[in-house]
């Protein structure tokens, strides 16, 4: 049998085909190995984080219990010292805690829930994806609208907003009081429900959300419970000491 030129071409072509298929298969298998190793690590970290979150819930419960205990002790002393200095001081403490946002309160108000837009990728093709997700500025503006409407207590995902509360972007999450929160953001507030609702509905940020299809939901309620802010060790003490100098 005579080997023709085209036979050689054919052989070369087949060889190339073989090499490419080989590379492809190999790269796929290393990829899946890599994937599973990464997935394991992701799992590992997620579990550790879950444990820490569980611990933090336990710690928070303990803090609230001890804080209550201390308050009850103060109450007892104040009761024994009616009309005296102690009871006056105790009233001062109660007022300061209330003004600072450090005690649990309830009252009428509204619950504002905001979330990213739920628009299928093909409909927003060619548009900027960041127009459809919530940014720290949006949360900040909504909270400011509630303050304009006279909100007396505000929390975001049960994190109480106090005088020093930041709302900053941290990747896909928003950091509030040093803790990260993900969407949806549930903003609870206490105040006159009608004024609060008006303040939100007439705001620019609300109009923008409606325009871009981001989700905003307003729910009015007669009784909203908001937890107090848990202070950290030494917080609110530093500048005071300086003032005494």
């Amino acid at each position: 049998m005579k080997i023709t030129k085209s036979d050689i071409w054919f052989a070369v072509a087949l060889m190339l085909l073989g090499i490419i298929m080989g590379i492809q298969i190999r790269s796929n298998s290393t990829r899946s190995q890599m994937l599973s190793a990464a997935a394991k690590q992701v799992d590992y970290y997620q579990n550790l984080i879950k444990e820490e979150v569980k611990k933090s819930k336990k710690y928070k419960r303990e803090i609230r219990r001890y804080e209550r205990e201390n308050k009850e002790l103060y109450e007892a002393f104040a009761y024994l010292d009616k009309e005296g200095a102690f009871s006056e001081l105790n009233e001062q403490l109660k007022k300061a805690l209330k003004f600072a946002g450090m005690n649990d309160v309830k009252g009428p108000g509204l619950i504002l829930t905001i979330d990213d837009a739920d628009i299928p990728p093909e409909e927003r093709a060619g548009m900027d994806a960041s127009d459809f997700v919530i940014h720290d500025m949006d949360v900040l503006r909504f909270v400011n609208e509630l303050k304009k409407g006279g909100a007396q207590a505000i929390s975001i995902n049960d994190e109480r907003i106090i005088s020093t509360s930041e709302q900053v972007c941290a990747g896909p999450t928003v950091m509030i009081n040093g803790r990260k929160y993900v969407t949806p953001y549930v903003i609870k507030c206490i105040g006159d429900p009608n004024i609060l609702r008006q303040s939100i509905e007439s705001s620019l940020v609300y109009t923008e959300f409606k325009e871009y299809g981001l989700s905003v939901n307003i729910e009015v309620s007669d009784e909203i419970s908001i937890e107090g802010y848990l202070i950290k060790k030494n917080e609110g003490a530093k500048t005071n000491e300086k003032m005494d100098e």
Partner: protein
């Protein structure tokens, strides 16, 4: 013509087609693999950061528990209970903004330019950045910011705590002055982005005095709130 359409040539053409198809497939899959592993490493770093953050938070909570237990011992006898009560009042009043405050920090001045006015959002952004870098007390043109302080645009003025003010806006913040300064002036940060439109100046100061909030019932209102027992 007939020579070209031979069986051999057709086979070669077919194989060439398959090879070019596979080359493209290969290139695309290599590209998507690197993309995917990039996303995974990013996800991992995020998780690691989250874990560090949670651990740090838990340490703070833990030390707060120890502190509360110590306080609890003090409250057992009346004399030391009164001392502790005063400390608690001071601390809560500080966070509430009920005490005038003195310390190191930064002073920022924002003012209107010929064709741009300082907006509500501009102020919110600066204040938020200061809070994020650990400001313990903030005031704008003499108005102490408390938990419920609003920033409202009204024509060419800004209203804070129900008080009308106009440009220039002087923001004073107490905290670690280096941290506050760096947070505001970081590359691509608030000063960079707002400084294009408005006059933006910042300086560190180790003697900043901040007023207490007006405690006459006009700023902090609590009539809708009841304490939960």
């Amino acid at each position: 013509m007939k020579r070209w359409m031979s069986k051999d040539n057709l086979a070669i053409a077919f194989v060439c087609f398959v090879i070019s198809f596979m080359i493209i497939w290969q290139l695309k899959s290599v590209y998507s693999n690197t993309q995917k592993s990039k996303i995974e490493t990013l996800r991992l770093t995020q998780l690691q950061e989250e874990l560090i953050n949670e651990k740090h938070n838990n340490e703070l909570l833990k030390s707060r528990i120890d502190e509360l237990l110590k306080d609890n011992q003090k409250i057992k006898d009346k004399k030391s209970a009164e001392e502790q009560l005063k400390l608690d009042i001071k601390r809560a009043s500080m966070i509430a903004g009920l005490l005038p405050t003195f310390g190191e920090g930064v002073k920022i001045v924002l003012s209107n330019t010929f064709d741009y006015m300082v907006t509500e959002s501009n102020l919110l952004e600066v204040i938020n950045e200061l809070r994020a870098t650990g400001a313990e007390a903030i005031e704008v043109n003499g108005e102490r910011l408390v938990a419920t302080s609003e920033v409202r645009e009204a024509g060419n003025r800004i209203v804070i705590n129900g008080v009308r003010m106009s440009s220039p806006y002087e923001i004073k913040a107490i905290g670690n002055s280096n941290k506050l300064y760096r947070g505001i002036t970081m590359l691509g940060g608030v000063k960079d982005s707002l400084g294009i439109f408005i006059d933006f100046s910042i300086q560190k100061d180790d003697k900043i005095y901040i007023n207490a909030v007006r405690d006459d019932g006009t700023v902090i209102k609590t009539d809708y709130m009841k304490e939960t027992e």
